[in-house]
């Protein structure tokens, strides 16, 4: 411990002995770290957008259903609570937003085409913070209230059905008695989504209108809850679970959309692999730099050992030198990443490849997202693996025999 100041002094000065080599290595570490964080930010941005879009389309952060609804999302599997009971349990519970819905499979027909869709009976006021699209951005208009008699469909679905605003379509589903429940609606609005598949899949009508059409009183099939952060949903999950019993099931968004949940975990793994792979490339340069530095200083190391410095201190000196080099490179890389990602957080237009991205549920705008946790991950991985990679040359230096090292030509 008492040697720490002199070890730092030696390490720091030795680092700048061959400043050209050090600067090149710093550049390599800096660019490598920047690449780690920048790519991670792009990946995170893409995944975030996908998750947020998907959560906005249906799942929210937590959902409540009839226990059989996941396997059979039909009108038979309704939540056994009346609207008043839902209000009593969840109103004022501190959720960012929550809403009850009617969600059933249905067929929509124009005079030319028919398509299977998911019919959503919603209360537009309650869903304002949950919905993935801006009500004001809807062509025509959005639903005004739960009793609105119109229907809002996606632009792509309108195109497929060869219909449009002001035209009539027919919705057909089943009521609880397995009888056909159908009704004509006038198209009042067309919404745009990040992906065409979403625009083609969901049709919105007023919740009360849907309940009337399906003959289910004021019952619903789904209650959706939104917390503050989709990555931290346990609080929301527990808050919902604590006020219901086994007559309903409460699910987290990644349990509902398992594909998305799995994808997010895969992306997390990918980020770690990416960081490690870049470091592997960097480590060759790092180890080479240290090996060269040790080779150039064999006699000095021998001298220090001869004068009574312990091998452990030599090991420490080389490791400190390596850590200083990496710390400087990390500082440069993190600063560069911050400077390049932050200006891009307003979005990068990737519409050229957006067609291909759509199959992943991604939009044509990419919003890089710089998380402190990712910067810490890159920094931690570089320092940890850098330390391990430096052990071999440092160990080698500490094992020199002073009498041989000091006479090394």
């Amino acid at each position: 411990m008492r040697l720490t100041p002199v070890l730092f002094r030696l390490a720091w000065r030795n680092l700048w002995r061959n400043h050209r080599r050090t600067i090149i290595m710093l550049g390599a570490v800096g660019v490598g770290v920047w690449a780690m964080i920048f790519m991670t930010a792009l990946t995170r941005g893409m995944v975030d957008q996908m998750v947020i879009d998907s959560i906005g389309v249906l799942p929210g952060h937590v959902q409540m259903h009839h226990p059989d609804f996941q396997d059979d999302p039909s009108i038979s599997n309704r939540i056994p609570f009346q609207e008043a009971e839902l209000q009593e349990r969840f109103a004022g519970a501190g959720f960012k937003a929550w809403a009850s819905r009617v969600r059933v499979p249905a067929v929509i027909s124009s005079e030319r085409e028919s398509r299977g869709v998911t019919l959503l009976g919603v209360d537009p006021d309650a869903e304002r913070d949950i919905s993935f699209f801006d009500y004001d951005a809807v062509d025509g208009r959005y639903l005004t209230d739960a009793s609105d008699q119109g229907i809002v469909i996606g632009k792509k679905l309108a195109e497929t059905l060869e219909t449009g605003i002001g035209k009539r379509v027919v919705l057909m589903s089943q009521d609880p008695d397995n009888d056909i429940a159908d009704r004509g609606f006038r198209v009042i609005g067309l919404y745009a989504a990040t992906t065409k598949s979403v625009e083609e899949s969901y049709a919105y009508i007023g919740k009360s209108t849907a309940q009337q059409m399906l003959n289910i009183g004021d019952e619903t099939t789904e209650v959706v809850f939104l917390g503050d952060d989709y990555r931290d949903i346990e609080g929301t999950y527990k808050a919902v679970s604590s006020v219901v019993d086994a007559s309903v099931s409460v699910l987290r968004w990644h349990e509902i959309d398992t594909y998305l949940g799995t994808m997010m975990r895969v992306m997390d793994g990918f980020v770690l692999i990416w960081v490690v792979v870049i470091f592997m490339a960097l480590s060759f340069g790092l180890v080479n730099t240290l090996v060269m530095a040790v080779f150039e200083r064999v006699r000095e190391i021998g001298l220090m050992l001869a004068l009574g410095m312990k091998p452990g201190s030599i090991l420490g000196q080389i490791l400190i030198e390596s850590m200083l080099l990496l710390t400087l490179g990390l500082a440069a890389g993190n600063a560069l990443a911050w400077a390049t990602v932050v200006p891009l957080e307003d979005g990068i237009d990737i519409s050229i490849v957006a067609e291909g991205m759509e199959m992943w549920g991604a939009s044509s705008m990419l919003y890089p997202k710089l998380y402190a946790s990712d910067m810490i991950l890159a920094t931690g991985v570089v320092l940890l693996l850098g330390f391990l990679a430096s052990l071999a040359p440092a160990w080698r230096a500490s094992r020199y025999k002073p009498v041989e090292a000091i006479t090394k030509v």
């Binding site: 008492r2 040697l3 100041p5 002199v6 002094r9 030696l10 000065r13 030795n14 002995r17 006699r299 000095e300 001298l303 220090m304 050992l305 001869a306 004068l307 009574g308 410095m309 312990k310 091998p311 201190s313 025999k401 002073p402 009498v403 000091i406």
Partner: protein, 229 residues
């Protein structure tokens, strides 16, 4: 008690197919405060003997005692401690740490010993003044002449007042004036501080400063002369 005592030291190096006997049953005893020169032609065994005394090299057989303590059986760490606290070294070349200034080089051993900073600074400045390098404290080795560098090395060797200073060909890279100045410094330190000096050399002028001259040939002591007598 002797400063140095070696009993029946043997050391053999393998060079290609040949075994070279660097030390062949060498026994010597050096009293405290002696000024001894080890003289031998190249390959005669003087550096090997010096390294054995300094704990830098372990003999194949025999015993080495420094201040009455046997050191040839110590571990690497224990040997490092002996070198750090009991022995000062001056080598032929590459004596200094290039990235440290003259003063920092002198302080180095004291710093490893754990001497407090203020005491280190005071001592190192005083010793640099003693060896005639006042004003050069902040120079790095590359900014000093060979003679000045050797003086810094001597200052470092004596900074913590070791009982024994070992010097291996300390004048080999110096011009005659610098060599004479260095030897005068050694003599002065030996006389004033009673530091024991053991110097390996084949320089006749260096030998003339020694009180005792031990001649070696082919790893054996062939002559042991008290030059003061």
């Amino acid at each position: 008690m002797s400063a140095v005592r070696c009993i029946d030291l043997c050391k053999t190096y393998r060079q290609g197919e040949q075994d070279i006997k660097a030390l062949d049953h060498v026994s010597i005893e050096i009293a405290r405060g002696e000024f001894v020169c080890l003289s031998a032609p190249s390959g005669g065994g003087k550096t090997t003997l010096l390294n054995a005394i300094g704990g830098l090299d372990i003999p194949d057989s025999g015993e080495v005692y420094i201040d009455g303590k046997r050191i040839d059986q110590l571990s690497k760490g224990e040997l490092a401690d002996v070198r750090l606290h009991q022995i000062g070294f001056v080598f032929q070349a590459y004596n200094l740490i290039p990235v440290l200034t003259a003063q920092e080089n002198v302080e180095f051993v004291m710093q490893v010993q754990g001497v407090p900073a203020t005491e280190r600074v005071t001592k190192s400045r005083a010793i640099l003044k003693e060896v005639g390098l006042e004003g050069l404290e902040d120079r790095r080795p590359a900014q000093m002449s060979g003679g000045q560098q050797q003086r810094v090395a001597v200052a470092r060797a004596i900074a913590s007042r070791p009982a024994l200073v070992l010097a291996d060909e300390p004048t080999a890279n110096l011009d005659s004036k610098s060599a004479d100045e260095l030897m005068a410094l050694f003599t002065e330190l030996n006389e004033h501080h009673k530091t024991t000096f053991v110097i390996a050399t084949h320089d006749q002028r260096v030998m003339s400063y020694a009180g005792r001259l031990i001649r070696m040939l082919d790893g054996r002591i062939v002559d042991d002369i008290n030059q003061r007598a």
